[in-house]
Symmetry: C2
Subunit: 205 residues, 2 copies
DNA sequence: GCCAAACTTGCGTGATCTGCAAAATTTCAT
DNA sequence: ATGAAATTTTGCAGATCACGCAAGTTTGGC
């Protein structure tokens, strides 16, 4: 079983989560990841500085751990869905099925979002992770649309999908309003189906 | 005059360019920016290490100097065009008018492209610069479409435009084929006008 | 209980990036 | 041309980062 195979696995996972949480907690407390050191994060989680770097290459990566995990699962889900669905629908449904809103604490995510958007190093780390996702997903998209990964079309389609994923989630997070996250995602993906360039959006948002 | 106002200005610009070129040359020679140090770049350009860091915060930024300059000019151009054109057309035309193909050496750009795509730190730096561009352009897009910068629509539109800009240029660079860069850009922007999600591209690429 | 495998830790190293103040250079007014 | 003012270059020191290495510690299977 890949599940709780042993004490060892569980301990490692716990340490990794503890480090990530410690990073977030300290970054919030000090109002910015730049004023937090790897040493502090390690201390907060009760391990040595060296061990911190065994788990994460940087404090930025530690803070974005959940995000990275989630996109990893998204990718696996997408691979499955692409076998039976048009790729655009697969992307939309996979994005909805991540259930960001249920899986994570909304306030934590808001804090994280704010930290990211006010830190160049976190912006770089996050967009770097998106590019990684792009590189991993391009084969799926190319195969699904019957094109080559070197063609223009799959790149544009995938780029649009990733932008939609990121924007809709961020938008919903900044103002949940009346809608559920799933509705916001659905609306965002629909905007591309009607042609993003032509009409201004019907009412307002 | 902002033009050649004095010896001082020109010397600074020359130093900056020399540092950027030195970074590219060394990165090509050593097959990767990671095996080049800031110290080496400074030496190659004939200044001290400290001076290098007066001009660029990192070797990655030095290597991407041209790119950063170009997007800066694009932004100014876009601001102008948005006054008289629909934003999507403004983006397309501004992208074409950057004249990447005339302004820079094709082989240099290919090398740079390859260096970027095989270096995590360069990918992060570049995508970070794109996010910076996003932040600076979102107001223009929102104003131009009569929406708020917090709405979903301008973010998706801008994201699509940036993806198109990046993808079309990269795609043309990797295989100039029969087309000009302007034609490749035009084709890419047109794909969104027809609705990127629905039809596979007509023939192949 | 014991051993091999895996994990943690401390140490050392090379590199990054920044602040600060002294030295060198350029500009400008006279 | 000359000297004062402004600006740039430079060296140095310091904080941090990120990683290799080797010794110590813990875990899991038998």
């Amino acid at each position: 079983m890949a599940e709780s195979t042993g004490l060892r696995e569980r301990k490692k996972a716990a340490t990794k989560a503890a480090l990530s949480e410690a990073a977030l907690r300290l970054a919030i407390a000090k109002e910015g990841i730049e004023s937090v050191t790897a040493e502090e994060i390690a201390a907060e989680a009760g391990v040595s500085t060296r061990t911190f770097h065994n788990y994460f290459p940087s404090k930025e990566a530690a803070l974005l751990y959940d995000f990275h995990e989630t996109t990893g699962r998204l990718l696996a889900d997408l691979r499955e869905r692409a076998r039976t669905q048009p790729i655009w629908d697969a992307f939309r449904d996979a994005t909805i099925d991540m259930h960001f809103d249920e899986k994570f604490d909304i306030d934590d995510m808001r804090c994280r979002e704010q930290l990211i958007h006010s830190s160049p190093s976190l912006i770089k780390e996050q967009s770097g992770q998106f590019m990684e996702l792009f590189a991993e997903a391009i084969d799926i998209v190319a195969a699904s649309t019957g094109t080559s990964k070197d063609d223009l079309y799959p790149r544009l389609l995938l780029g649009a999908a990733l932008v939609t994923m990121k924007s809709s989630t961020e938008h919903w997070l900044s103002d949940p309003g009346e809608r559920t996250l799933a509705e916001a995602i659905t609306e965002a993906f629909a905007l591309f189906e009607r042609g993003i360039t032509q009409p201004p959006p019907a009412p307002a948002t």
